[in-house]
Amino acid sequence: MLFAAGSGVIGGAAAVAATATALAADRERSTIARVERDALLARSTFVGTGMEPAAGKHQSGVVTAPQAHSVFAAFDLREGVDAAAVGRLMRLLTDDITRVTSGRAALADTAAELAATPARLTVTVGFGPGLFARTGLTEQQPAGLVELPAFPKIDQLQDRWSGGDLLLHICADDAMVVAHTQRMLLKDTRAFAVPRWFQRGFRRAVGSGIPGSGDRNLMGQIDGTVNPATDTEFDAVVWDTGPGWFAGGTTMVLRRIRMDLDRWDELDRSAMEQVMGRHLDTGAPLSGSAEHEEPDLAALDFTGLKAIPDFAHLRLARGDGPARQILRRPYNYDDSPDADGASDVGQLFCSYQADIGRQFVPMQQRLAESDLLNKWTTPVGSAVFAILPGFEAGQWLGQGLLG
């Protein structure tokens, strides 16, 4: 040590004494730090070990309480990849998914430690219409999976956020887990399919939201209030009930919807509330005062006008009975601002329904026609997928179609 070499015996002893004092102080500090850390841990909710089931009648990641982080990864099949090859990919993915969702590394994972805390990881697999066409399985394409019609009044769709033959939807309460899982699945997928687009989204961190309430979106609105929530409702709205190979599956509509927050800022608060038909603070319908109360669409305000206006998102989005409702499970996105400093933010609008044509399309048509919210929101991407039925232990995803 330099100080000992230059300072002689006395200096050296003093240095040793000083070092001892410093060490004692260090030890005390680290003890305090440890006590504080233990106290913090005792109060915190450790989310790393949370797990969602991989096997079952339905895939996880659909009616699963939304995790904080997500990537929607779309691929196009490579030239020459036929139904048998897709089957091989599904066997690989099924094995991967079974492992990673239970905190075990995928086979041949060189960073296995990253798999130890799954943080409620789910991986949900879907087939786009293109996959059925390119593998000669058009006959077996679920009736509920249809391409969306154009919505010329609102759509400004870009190819780079649209379409896709294959979807891997990865969600977890830890962004590290999402990233590592994405890397492992990419390795098993790339021999069969090329990446088309990857869209990353997030919601409130675990513990940041209000329990029992919808999450706030980037417009600050409470979003997710009216949504199917029980198994009976999921059966009525979400799942294909068969007969056929698709029983237990569902369909996903993913719309990348940009929010023009800078122009939204120009509205005053009451105008913002009128657009939605709900209060910003409580999320209550403008006809009432509590988030979960039934909106009174006929209620008038003190001026004698409808409390929830005709153009309000709430009024127009209302599904007409379970057969016309959807399950919404959106994520927020936040990309780099443009050169003028305008934010590139929005919603990865994600909905599940047994039948896109029956449930989603009429709703989107009503909204495209007269939802005032369209002034501040623009769909820039659009894709539809058949979310495969679940698998039981020993089976693989899509076996009913490809096996």
């Binding site: 690989l92 094995d95 079974t98 021999a191 232990a393």
Partner: protein
């Protein structure tokens, strides 16, 4: 027989990360991995490297964690596989300053009540003379015969694996690829373990 000499292995450098032993896992894809009648030895986390992208698509290897549930050591003395007509039991060793793989003298022992890991860069079941390349996701059945005459077989999946190529200076591809001379020289070999004493030669 003229020996091809030591087999130089492209990717199997010592920098290879071990494949994690994830506990006793039955692969979700396919029937239970352990097919031994009395379950004396089971295998977990089994997989076969796909030949996709390999320089030499005629050979690859099977990996996994063998566990011996009996109180006697058991030694794998030979193997067969459904993807090719020739299977050997290999080890990696340092010879003349290079990592090489070669038939393991005396077979692969799974200690009583213990486990033996077959992994890239270590012991493995070598699958040779592959006629039809193995794309990822293909099912392969591997059968092992032990020194006490018992057998087990397991069905497993091929996976694309880069092996240690990322770290390898020599620019060869395929974690398990061997020189072509070795592949052709091997025609004189029958399936199974080479007799001790020929451990440094492959064919």
């Amino acid at each position: 027989m003229a020996c091809a000499g030591l087999l130089i292995v492209g990717g199997c450098s010592s920098a290879q990360e071990p494949v994690p032993a994830n506990g006793s896992v039955t692969p979700a894809a396919g029937p239970p991995a352990a097919a031994e009648a009395d379950g004396a030895v089971t295998i977990a986390d089994s997989w076969v490297k796909s030949t996709l992208g390999a320089e030499d698509t005629t050979m690859t290897a099977a990996f996994g964690v063998l566990t011996n549930h009996t109180d006697k050591d058991l030694t794998v003395v030979s193997a067969t596989n459904s993807a090719s007509g020739r299977t050997e039991l290999h080890e990696m060793a340092m010879a003349d300053g290079a990592m090489v793989m070669r038939p393991v003298a005396g077979g692969i022992t799974v200690p009583a009540g213990g486990s033996t890991t077959l992994e890239p860069g270590g012991l493995h079941v070598m699958i040779m003379d592959v006629q039809t390349p193995l794309p990822p996701g293909e099912q392969v059945t591997v059968s092992l015969t032990f020194d006490n005459g018992s057998t087990m077989s397991f069905q497993t999946l091929t996976k694309e694996f880069a092996g240690a190529n990322e770290n390898y200076q020599g620019g060869e591809t395929g974690g398990m690829s061997m020189g072509t001379d070795a592949a052709t020289a091997g025609t004189e070999h029958s399936a199974g373990v080479s007799t001790p004493g020929t451990a440094t030669s492959h064919g």
